[in-house]
Subunit: 206 residues, 4 copies
DNA sequence: TCCTAACCGAGACGGTACGTCGCGTCTTAGG
DNA sequence: CCTAAGACGCGACGTACCGTCTCGGTTAGGA
């Protein structure tokens, strides 16, 4: 789960990593991130709340941004629904989008996400990590749905898939990050319908 | 233009504000914001680069976020084109969107904008200010274009205007903030075309 | 009264000095000095409380120390009792010392005096001013009393007058500045008696 | 010796205090205090000169006044001669007073002491600390000398000891703080002699 | 059973920036 | 010529976190 679960190649000697500390850190970080956002959360405060030392956090997470990524991935239900074929583009997109927006609504995650977005724009290394694990991962599911629709003949083969994905995720991120309106179920449905209509002009979806 | 340009009603007593300091601060802040982003820019560094005292900055800007807003508004060409009637919805939207995306491309503003977005989600007061002066201001222009289209009979009178605006601005902000693709002219044109197609199904636009 | 009442030689042109401002400043400074001591009193605060501008204070008093000196001289009864011949050394010293200690007890002046003492040790110019107007002025009265006693034959002609003065003022300043005991009337009387006994060994004073 | 040398009872956990930083701070503070006095010395400047961070200073000294106390106690030879019985009151007082005045003359400490006196009058907490560690500590030695003299029958049993101490220390502090004359060895001897004469009228001292 | 490596907490360290306060100077308008 | 108002560059305040660094102690596997 953690990004630091790598090197199992060498034989593990010495005292093993404390699982309880790891969980205490993730729990404390999650609480603080939800309350204060990324900018308002300090490693110092996480260590205080978790009852661990700062060094232990730094040993396993190079930055609070990467810690925040681990926190979000642990709290969301991202593993499931990797590919659901419902028979229609609209259905497939619903299966991709709706569970995610439900997660987003379950707690005030927008502040954390916005912090990660800002951090990614200022740190090219983190940007790669963040985009791959958050943005591209989700786009890939939408891309797969569109590919299935093309294979089905539901949409033209030369559909501009990337544009469609931007039309799909863009409005949702827009509301999430700018907060001018809720990202509720009807809105998500409307966005999906509009995208379907745009890429499948002859369809009767809506 | 500046948030501090208010009360000229009362008689101005005391030493007047230094215009040169004001400009030096905006210039220095702009430079640092573009180089380091909002998170990497400190009032301390702005005051050093501008050759002014910190107190002078704090006297006029309560936070670096509000300073950043002033910097962006000063660097962009936001005043003009408040309402251009080109005769078609597509034309009107182009007149609203294209100059803005040109400004966005002119320098790496995305880092600054993402910082403001994150700041707004963590500070309700700033959120109001930011949304009114950045997001809503631009939405209002798109809203006006859609209203003219409705008056013209180009789109149905019961069009969901807010949804259309999210479909218009969402993809642009998405690319701007996530940086997975450029916000270039063809992309902006495609988004506009897609929105026009979505709200005016019978039109020949695109 | 004020140390700035000098140059009346040239003809006074323009708006005359505001007497009400001068008094407001002295009153405000006195209040703040008694409450906060010299270190805790700022010109800024004096101007706020007095309702005058800072510039007006700086125009007439080069430093807050010199302002404090004016405040104290205005509040004490130093002019009178310049020389009282009571017929005995003890009586003369009482006439010099007791009114002063009464002034000192009337309000918590010790904090202000200690501030002036500290300021004098750090600023040679102010030190001259302060010693002349505060310390030496009072020593001179004691010196005169001792001179009268010598003329009277009450004490030897070769008495070490400066030592006697230090034995007289030292214990009083000591209690005043260190605050380990009160500078009350009995103490002042005892000090005077001890000094008289020391310089006039054969006397029956005490 | 230092006010921070306390609790060695509990097990020392964490990184131990840096002895080199402690000494660098005391050395830097001593230098600045002698040059600029207490008022002219800032924690900022001490940290710069010592090459430590401000936080390290604040961690161990709550205020610059308490730091100054530590500096003086470290520079003076206060530990020794706590009780020397020379057989006579005059000799005992010499053993108490002369080494101290020698310390006072060795460098321009008067400015620092005057600053501490002023600070004590403005801060009741510091006053207790300062009086206990500076004034009372030294008075106690004089008090012990007077007690031995009384036990010896050299002075009356009902001698007013506190008054005698004020007559002893007062003149010395007076010259030190007002700076109208030097606190040289002959002066100290004269003061001691005068006090002895005052409390032991029948003696042949002087 | 001991050794040794890797972990853990506590907490001190040199830094940077925070936002505020007062300094003494200045530049206005107005009496 | 004086005054109130108030902006200015400056420097220090005391605090919070940063990321790094010792410490003493703990917990495993390999010898």
């Amino acid at each position: 789960m953690s990004q630091t679960g790598a090197a199992v190649t060498t034989v593990r000697r010495g005292r093993p990593r404390s699982e309880s500390s790891r969980q205490a850190i993730l729990r404390a970080a999650g609480e603080l991130l939800l309350e204060q956002g990324l900018g308002g959360t300090s490693i110092e405060a996480v260590s205080r709340l978790a009852g661990t030392s700062k060094a232990t956090i730094y040993r396993w997470w190079p930055s609070k941004e990467l810690l925040a990524v681990d926190v979000l991935l642990a709290e969301w239900h991202d593993e499931a629904t990797s590919a659901e074929d419902t028979g229609t583009l609209a259905g497939d997109l619903r299966a991709v989008i709706l569970p995610w927006t439900r997660d987003l609504r379950s707690r005030p995650y927008a502040r954390i996400v916005s912090g990660l977005v800002a951090a990614a724009l200022g740190d090219e290394d983190f940007a790669h990590d963040y985009r791959a694990r958050f943005v591209e991962r989700r786009r890939e599911r939408g891309r797969a749905a569109l590919a299935r629709a093309a294979a089905r003949g539901e949409i033209p083969a030369d559909t501009d898939v990337e544009l469609a994905l931007d039309m799909l995720y863009g409005p949702i991120y827009h509301r999430l990050l700018h907060g001018h309106e809720e990202v509720d179920e009807p809105f998500a449905e409307q966005v999906i319908a509009a995208v379907v209509r745009a890429v499948a002009p002859g369809s009767s979806a809506g």
